[in-house]
């Protein structure tokens, strides 16, 4: 309960002002496609030069929390996930927005983010010493199996056909092999200069999700001059709150999975949302509603990606190991003020660390308030006439891809992937499994290479990858997950068949 004593620091006028500025600024940055939480935090670091360590960290902490949640805005309204964390949010959220329930989706996403976020920070406060040791248990072989576990959900993610889902996943895995491989030192599939660094994930996300949409909108505009506007009714906050409580199952699955994945260094928040989404669906009695604008999908994804924020700081604060790119940037923010993270950081700099953590706790709550407040008018974006909306999304897509690395190469990658995805979507493939392949490919590949090199110097790959309790548990989960998707797939196939058979009799 030591942290309660440091709440005073958060309520000092300057600290509070920074907290407000960081939250509002973070929401706006997060909602801008192409500006990931990592970049937003990196952009803010120079501002902290002029602040005291505590104040600087309050600004960074608030910005980190709210950019993760802000990414949901563009994911829901425009189907452009601001960062990999928001991919799963786009799946159901955008369908809801298309139905005119954008405000409801935004309310639920901010509320779920807030609940997940607060629980994540509470874990950070109470369990840091226990969790720190646990986070170190995951070596290359375990991270490899975790990535494979992620691959197993590809087939069932957001597609009507199991086979087409797997095929999209394979395309994603192949795309992820492009670029210079830093472990073996080989160049792979680099035909043009823009590809030498591989496919950068944010431009790829923007292209795969936004461009097919834009093309569809333009196509529609050609066919009918009628301006097809979506009616966005105001949505009562209390109703959203009640719905959140009703969706307790999705909320708790999201929070638990987000917290666990956030803790593991090296996997990060990229897949927290997707894994939580998939599990929430598996445990839901209304499985088929997912992907059609089901609120539980949004709740699971958003609670997971904010729950991950707190635990992702555990390895950073206690072991000085940044578990995610954003944590690495925060480490820079700590170092610049002469604060070296380590197991004694809570004794050496309690006022800085506790104020920082407290500000994240308060930041989560402020984020919900501002988010809900803006949801009402943000949702009106869906009301804009289609040609204007399409042009607007296209501009954002171009701007977002360029701003990642100030590189036209990224813009070209975004456009090529986008046009390719448009064609694939016409044949019933979907973007989500492809993106999951793109994200998991390098994780699985690099940890496999890394693990094999270590294994080669020890007892060989079989022993390294297949023995030890943690490996076995993960392998069992992989096998179970594969078996489960085959089983449900066969079940679905037999359901689909039976009415036809009945008719022929």
């Amino acid at each position: 309960m030591e942290f309660l004593g440091y709440f005073g620091g958060v309520f000092e006028p300057i600290a509070l002002m920074l907290l407000f500025a960081g939250t509002v600024g973070g929401l706006i940055l997060g909602a801008t496609p192409g500006l990931s939480p990592t970049m937003a935090v990196a952009l803010l670091i120079p501002f902290t030069f002029h602040l005291s360590p505590t104040q600087g960290l309050i600004l960074l902490g608030a910005a980190y929390t709210s950019t993760v949640a802000g990414g949901a805005v563009s994911a829901i309204l425009l189907k452009i996930p601001g960062a990999p964390a928001n991919i799963a949010t786009a799946l159901d959220g955008n369908e809801m927005a298309k139905r005119g329930e954008g405000a409801r989706a935004l309310h639920l996403s901010f509320l779920a983010s807030g609940v997940g976020g607060v629980i994540g920070v509470l874990l950070l406060i109470f369990l840091t010493p226990v969790l720190a040791q646990w986070a170190l248990k995951f070596g290359p072989s375990h991270l490899f199996w975790i990535a494979i576990l992620g691959v197993t959900v590809i087939g069932s993610l957001d597609s009507k056909s199991f086979v087409k889902g797997l095929l999209s996943g394979c395309i994603g895995l192949w795309l992820s092999t492009i670029g210079t491989d830093d472990i073996m030192g080989a160049d792979r599939f680099i035909f043009v200069d823009a590809l030498s660094g591989g496919i950068t994930i944010i431009p790829a996300l923007i292209g795969l999700f936004a461009i097919p949409q834009v093309l569809d909108m333009f196509a529609k505009g050609r066919v009918s001059a009628v301006i097809d506007t979506v009616h966005v009714p105001r949505y009562k906050f209390l109703d959203s709150l009640k719905e959140l409580i009703r969706s307790f199952r999705a909320l708790s699955i999201g929070t638990v999975i987000g917290s666990i994945i956030g803790l593991i260094p090296g996997v990060g928040g990229q897949i927290a949302g997707l894994v939580a989404y998939d599990q929430a669906r598996n445990f839901s009695p209304q499985k088929d509603k997912f992907g059609t604008g089901h609120s539980e999908g949004v709740i699971a994804a958003e609670s997971a990606n904010n729950a991950m924020v707190g635990p992702s700081l555990v390895p950073l604060l206690t072991l000085s190991i940044p578990g995610s790119p954003t944590a690495a940037v925060l480490l820079g923010g700590l170092l610049i003020h002469g604060i070296f993270p380590g197991s004694d950081i809570f004794d050496k700099h309690p006022e800085v660390v506790w104020t920082f953590i407290n500000s994240m706790l308060l930041g989560q709550i402020l984020m919900v308030i501002f988010g809900i407040y803006t949801a009402a008018w943000a949702a009106r974006i869906a009301k804009a006439p289609i040609p204007i909306l399409a042009a607007g999304v296209l501009v954002l897509a171009l701007f977002g891809s360029y701003s990642v690395g100030q590189s036209m190469g990224d813009v070209q990658i975004m456009l090529v992937l986008g046009i390719g995805m448009y064609i694939l979507e016409k044949f019933g493939f979907s973007a989500a499994p492809l993106v999951l392949g793109l994200i998991l490919g390098p994780i699985a590949g690099d940890y496999f290479n890394n693990g094999s090199m270590i294994a080669a110097a020890q007892d060989g790959p079989w022993v390294y990858f297949f023995t030890g309790p943690l490996n076995i548990v993960l392998i069992v989960m992989v096998v179970a997950s594969i078996a489960y998707s085959f089983w449900t797939n066969m079940l679905r196939a037999s359901f689909a068949k039976s009415p036809l058979e009945g008719a022929s009799k």
Binding site: S320, V329, G332, P341, D344, M453
Partner: protein
């Protein structure tokens, strides 16, 4: 007619000379960009942001410096971009990492070499150190080398990738002890390599002095040796590898500084070479760098030129067998 032509020629020459002079006198009249070949938040980016923060002062450059991140392929993407697409006018500089870019150009497949760039000044030097976990049975370099000799190819040693300072140091150690390590390059930079050491996934690691210093402060690692010519002020108690009996020089030290593209007007290079070291030496910069545990080493353009040439020779020799 002939004189007229001569006068015209002379005056044209005079104009062009005065134009260059005027250009140099005006330089810089707008903000200057520095391309960093690594992502936002990495050590190079972090330090580049600190050392350029006083550029806008009237007695330094009078114009602010902003950072352009061009990450990818271990820095190759950014330096390729700088060598082929950036303007050679001094308004776009790039941060260099030695030995990284020289080692990459020796291995081939990139569009630059040391001859593509003109150094401006050096700001930092981060030596590589050998680290082991806090509970490791190795307490000295000798313990580690003895083990490596008894178990060739079994001493797993993590580092931040191929052809970076860590890798060079590992290669030099192997050459010096005539033994075989198992170098494990990790993706995710020095932090991931350090995590592998702390978690006991590998027996030893080569890492940045600044990161190792913090990890030791936090009680997570032991530092066995530093790959430099003399002991470091951050850790007077750690011997150099030479003192530990290994013939390893400072070729793996990660030097960081600023450079411009070849073909930049000499007057602009001269102005930058004169002013940029003043910027690095500014008291506020020094304070921030020290707080962050980032060792500084300010070197003039001529010193950097000599250092580049020396590195290129050593690295060509070292990488010839690979």
């Amino acid at each position: 007619m002939k004189t007229l032509f001569k006068t015209a020629l002379l005056s044209a020459a005079a104009i062009s000379v005065s134009a260059t002079l005027a250009f140099a006198a005006d330089f810089p009249d707008r903000p200057i960009g520095v391309a960093v070949s690594y992502g936002a938040g990495g050590a190079t980016d972090f330090q580049a942001r600190i050392v350029t923060m006083v550029a806008g002062n009237e007695d330094i450059l009078g114009q602010p410096i902003y950072i352009l991140n061009k990450p990818g392929a271990g820095g190759r993407k950014g330096w390729n971009w700088f060598a082929t697409e950036a303007e050679a006018d001094g308004y776009t500089m790039s941060a260099y990492n030695i030995p990284h870019f020289i080692a990459q150009s020796i291995k081939g497949g990139v569009k630059y070499s040391a001859a593509s760039f003109e150094p401006v000044a050096n700001w930092g030097a981060d030596p590589a150190v050998v680290v082991v976990g806090k509970d490791s049975k190795f307490n000295t370099m000798q313990d580690l080398i003895d083990y490596a000799k008894a178990n060739p190819g079994k001493t797993t040693t993590s580092g931040a990738g191929l052809f970076v300072g860590h890798h060079i140091a590992a290669l030099q150690i192997e050459k010096a002890c005539a033994c075989k390590l198992a170098y494990i390059p990790t993706k995710g930079g020095g932090a991931a390599a350090m995590k592998a050491v702390i978690a006991g996934e590998v027996l030893a690691g080569v890492n940045n002095l600044s990161d190792a210093f913090r990890a030791r402060e936090a009680g997570n690692v032991k530092i066995l040796g530093v790959a430099d010519l003399e002991r470091n002020e951050f850790m007077k108690d750690v011997p150099t590898l030479k003192e530990a009996g290994l013939d390893v020089d400072n070729s793996s030290v990660n030097f960081r500084g600023l450079m411009v593209k070849k073909g930049t007007p000499q007057a602009v290079i001269d102005k930058l070479a004169a002013q940029v070291p003043l910027m690095f030496a500014h008291a506020r910069v020094a304070k921030r760098m020290k707080a962050g545990g980032s060792p500084m080493k300010i070197m003039s353009r001529d010193e950097v030129k000599a250092m580049w040439a020396a590195r290129e020779a050593t690295l060509k020799d070292l990488l010839a067998g690979l």
